[in-house]
Symmetry: C2
Subunit: 176 residues, 2 copies
């Protein structure tokens, strides 16, 4: 499988990575969450070529993660703002940052700390259950075949499709 085909996998992680899984893209989005909007600001922060930055920003606009807004008429200049779809990536960036804080620390403490307006405290983001509010840990959560994967399996059994290569469908694999 080629990288540009990963959105064909019946998997939401693969589909998400088909949009944000390129080098630099999540760093562009990190900067956007810190308030960066303009091409030259992104470039100053990331130090990548104009060509690559332009390609990455264009792809994020095409996927509706950023929108391009004109902020000057003469000369015409544009800035890039997070859409609702882009803002919804906040948990991805925060969990990456938390992992970096926990495991890639260099004995200097965290580079950035976060204060929650609602409670006024310095906080850690944590992943919790929507139903009972308890923290989610991999050993306490059971993945099951959902509607989309079940549909693809059914269509494969009827001979209309190939069975998707997905670990959850492999009998050889045991989770422990």
């Amino acid at each position: 499988m080629r990288w540009d085909e990963i959105d064909r996998q019946v998997c939401s992680v693969a589909r998400a990575l088909s949009v944000v899984g390129e080098r630099w893209t999540l760093l562009i989005l990190r900067d956007a969450f810190f308030g960066t909007r303009r091409f030259d600001q992104f470039q100053a922060s990331l130090g990548i070529t104009r060509h690559r930055l332009s390609e990455r920003l264009g792809k994020l606009v095409d996927h509706g993660v950023l929108r391009r807004v004109r902020y000057s008429e003469r000369p015409p200049r544009y800035e890039y703002r997070l859409t609702r779809k882009g803002l919804a990536l906040y948990p991805v960036l925060m969990t990456l940052g938390t992992w970096g804080d926990d495991w890639m620390d260099r004995g200097e403490g965290p580079p950035v700390v976060y204060v929650h307006n609602a409670c006024g405290k310095q906080i850690r983001p944590q992943l919790t259950c929507s139903e009972c509010g308890e923290p989610l840990r991999p050993e306490g959560v059971l993945p099951e075949v959902g509607p989309a994967l079940a549909l693809h399996v059914l269509e494969a059994q009827e001979g209309d499709r190939e069975l998707p290569a997905f670990p959850l469908l492999s009998a050889e694999v045991t989770v422990d």
Copy 2:
């Protein structure tokens, strides 16, 4: 800046991406969380070359995200298991998957659903505050310069280092 230098940024997101930000790496880890352990199983699921898979697995072992365990003496065969550092990436994969469910759905519903053992319900992962338990939203969380970034700024002021390029340090940038 070259991609292989991003871990020099005083930023936990960049440091995390220096380990897991390559194409395929997060998909390898997705498979590991679903129970995949063996080279040939990873290859069957991802369909990438043995060379690339071997390089990616090797890097994850070098960074202590996976460990290589011999499961057969003759012939010698190895499998790859998540370490504690690897298991700690669970929130990153779950938030990517949730974003994919929400925004990359193709009208077929989610490919995989999750049941929380503790409450027995089908759940959604959500990112919440460690202190008050409320969901975290970007507009409700204030990033502040933390110890590591403050140290680098101080050392830059004393002339011992360059000021890190980081959006939080730029006066031009306004968050709205």
